[in-house]
């Protein structure tokens, strides 16, 4: 329970890799089959549509850049989910943290809109991070101190945060120049930079670096081991002087900080203003990615890219092939269900065959 069993010496390296890879391959295969089945049901040619999706995801430099644009918030939301999961917590709160990050960062931007970018941008990012961290700390505190289930509280807080965004952009923060459109004034252009004239911004670099650093810390540091011990057996953790409730608050607040960073980056660089609908379910997508990546931050990088491609392709399919955007949501659900089914069955087979 506490430590992974050492691999049997008799098992050759190759066989071990095959065993690890088989479920992943089975998952991809089954997912493509169900996706093809879905396209048949909605009356689209399955093979051609799947090929179109691949083209729209990575086929040319524009598609690739749009995939990277989607990868950014998804990766950060995945990190917001997987860090609490390393302590065994099931947080579904990345969406709410994203909204709170957007709100806090926007508050700073509106207050200091005339400040030079060199001051404004760091302050804006810090505020966004703080907003998300607070929104993670609340369920972390409730879980750590009062033993209130974090899955339910994070889900409820998502709705509260989304409504707070609406209250602000329909109310005190609405730019009268928008002629009734609920949004704040525009953010200063280029605050987060752009790469090669695309919409890709500094947020991608932040996400990438955080994922790598987090991967190293979780795998190598004392703290990473503490989380693993507490997850495996809280009683043992307590006996060697570790505090579950403190760690619950730490991982939830840190995870929230990642979600908040996603929110302010998305608002400043992609939307250019705070408005309703800044997240199209990035939080849930991040949850899916964290799960697919086995809660490993480094593996979450390529998985975010693949799922980001799926969503970017969904947007393009809507524009060019008249496939409604909701189909990207359905495909994500099918992908998640496939991953769960394959994971469950392969765990069962492993148990059965030792």
């Amino acid at each position: 329970m506490l430590l992974e069993l050492p691999s049997k010496p008799a098992l050759s390296e190759l066989k071990r890799y095959a065993r690890r890879l088989a479920p992943a391959l089975a998952m991809v295969g089954i997912f493509f089959l169900t996706a093809a089945g879905f396209f048949v049901i909605i009356g689209k040619p399955p093979i051609a549509t799947l090929a179109d999706m691949a083209m729209f995801a990575v086929g040319d430099s524009y598609s690739l850049s749009e995939t990277l644009v989607k990868t950014t918030p998804i990766l950060l939301c995945a990190l917001a989910t997987l860090l609490p999961a390393r302590l065994g917590l099931v947080s579904v709160g990345a969406d709410g943290q994203l909204f709170m990050g957007a709100i806090f960062g926007t508050a700073v931007t509106l207050a200091w809109r005339d400040a030079p970018l060199a001051i404004l941008v760091p302050a804006m990012l810090a505020a966004g991070i703080a907003g998300g961290a607070i929104w993670g700390l609340v369920p972390g505190f409730l879980r750590g101190r009062l033993d209130v289930n974090e899955t339910i509280t994070t889900l409820l807080l998502n709705y509260v945060a989304a409504l707070l965004v609406n209250a602000l952009v329909y109310g005190p923060w609405k730019d009268p120049g928008n002629l009734g459109w609920p949004a704040t004034i525009a953010f200063p252009a280029g605050s987060l930079g752009t790469f090669f004239g695309t919409r890709v911004h500094a947020g991608l670099v932040f996400a990438f670096v955080i994922a790598l650093v987090l991967g190293v810390i979780l795998a190598r540091s004392r703290w990473g081991l503490e989380l693993a011990i507490l997850r495996g057996n809280a009683k043992v953790g307590r006996m060697i002087g570790l505090s579950f409730s403190r760690q619950a608050m730490v991982v939830m607040a840190l995870g929230g900080a990642f979600g908040g960073l996603a929110g302010i980056c998305e608002t400043a660089a992609i939307q250019g203003r705070l408005q309703p609908g800044i997240s199209v379910g990035y939080g849930l997508t991040g949850f899916l990615v964290a799960w697919l990546a086995g809660h490993n931050p480094v593996i979450a990088i390529p998985v975010s890219f693949l799922v980001g491609g799926l969503i970017a392709a969904g947007d393009s399919l809507q524009l060019f092939a008249k496939v409604p955007a909701a189909s990207a949501t359905i495909l994500q659900g099918l992908l998640f269900a496939t991953a769960l089914a394959v994971g469950g069955v392969s765990a069962r087979l492993r148990r059965a065959h030792g």
Binding site: V148, T151, L156, N166, S327, G333, F336, G344, V345
Partner: protein, 313 residues
């Protein structure tokens, strides 16, 4: 003045019970599912399925009863995904519920587009059948359709069944310990399958009541987390069908109060007012959950799910 007060009270009772009905049905279903040791966050998606396809059936046939039946059926259909993943593949229950939610959200946004802005007939208020009832009763019956009393009766029947009958005892045993149940010759998987499907039917019915009978509209993501709120409130109601009634009514009263405030022209942002049910749910869950763990009223096998879901991957 006394007459006016009584009528106002009757109006509030009617409005609260109407708005509580969808939540009550979903909560009841989730309560029974959790009683057998299965948690299903997918009721949010199943409720959406019921709301969408119930509305579609009601709008195309013009028969609200058919709409409600179609909604319940749509909920059952989606709940088979949760059953397959959880019982068939032994997948993680929290993850499976979220997957089911995402699928329901996607499917209903996809097929619901055609019905946005559509019209549907609701069920007739009960008042017409009771012309000579006293004014107080009459006021309530004039504003209440059969779904509200039906939901109350269902909750009562579920309580009696769960606590007083042999099969109810079987369900409770499976929830406490599948192992003990197996030793008694009960097949836990079969009981859990039934409970997931029943939960799906009630969630779908709740969704259909919401779209066909209560709001008479369909919009994308119309449930806005009602199903998730219900999952949280099951804890508040202590996995007890009888306690589902007051818990749901509390939310009905709060929704009625919010609607009255808005209609009364109170200068609070409607979005801020709309946070009420979520914050109220948070507060009651915080107040009761820390108690519930200690009191041990949670089905024991469910506790294991909550604990084991911690080891997520």
């Amino acid at each position: 003045m006394a007459e006016f007060d009584a009528i106002t009270l009757a109006t509030w009772i009617a409005a609260s019970s109407r708005s509580a009905t969808p939540l009550l049905l979903v909560m009841l279903g989730e309560t029974l599912t959790q009683r057998t040791g299965v948690i299903n966050l997918g009721v949010e998606g199943e409720m959406l399925m019921g709301a969408c396809f119930g509305f579609a059936a009601g709008a195309t046939t013009g028969d609200p009863l058919l709409g409600l039946a179609a909604g319940a059926a749509a909920g059952v259909v989606l709940s088979t995904v949760h059953a397959g993943l959880v019982l068939g593949a032994r997948a993680n229950q929290i993850g499976s519920g979220l997957a089911v939610w995402i699928i329901g959200l996607g499917v209903t946004s996809y097929y619901g587009r055609a019905f946005v802005g559509g019209k549907v007939d609701s069920l007739r208020p009960l008042g017409a059948h009771f012309a000579d009832a006293p004014a107080f009763i009459r006021t309530i019956l004039d504003q209440v359709t059969p779904t509200a009393p039906l939901a109350l009766v269902l909750a009562g029947v579920a309580g009696v069944w769960l606590y007083r009958t042999r099969s109810g005892l079987i369900w409770r045993t499976v929830g406490e310990s599948a192992e003990v149940a197996r030793a008694l010759g009960i097949r836990p998987v079969s009981v859990r399958l039934q409970s997931i499907l029943l939960g799906g039917a009630l969630a779908g019915l709740g969704g259909a009541v919401l779209s066909v009978d209560y709001t008479q509209t369909w919009a994308q993501d119309i449930t806005k987390g009602k199903g998730l709120v219900a999952v949280g409130l099951v804890i508040v109601a202590r996995w007890n069908p009888y306690l589902v009634i007051p818990t749901a009514l509390l939310f009905g009263v709060s929704e009625t109060a919010v609607l009255r405030l808005q209609a009364g022209g109170v200068a609070i942002s409607p979005s801020l007012l709309a946070t009420t049910p979520y914050l109220l749910a948070l507060v009651v869950i915080i107040l009761s959950q820390s108690q519930a763990w200690r009191a041990g009223s949670m089905p024991a096998d469910l506790t294991a799910i909550f604990r084991s879901s911690r080891a997520a991957p």
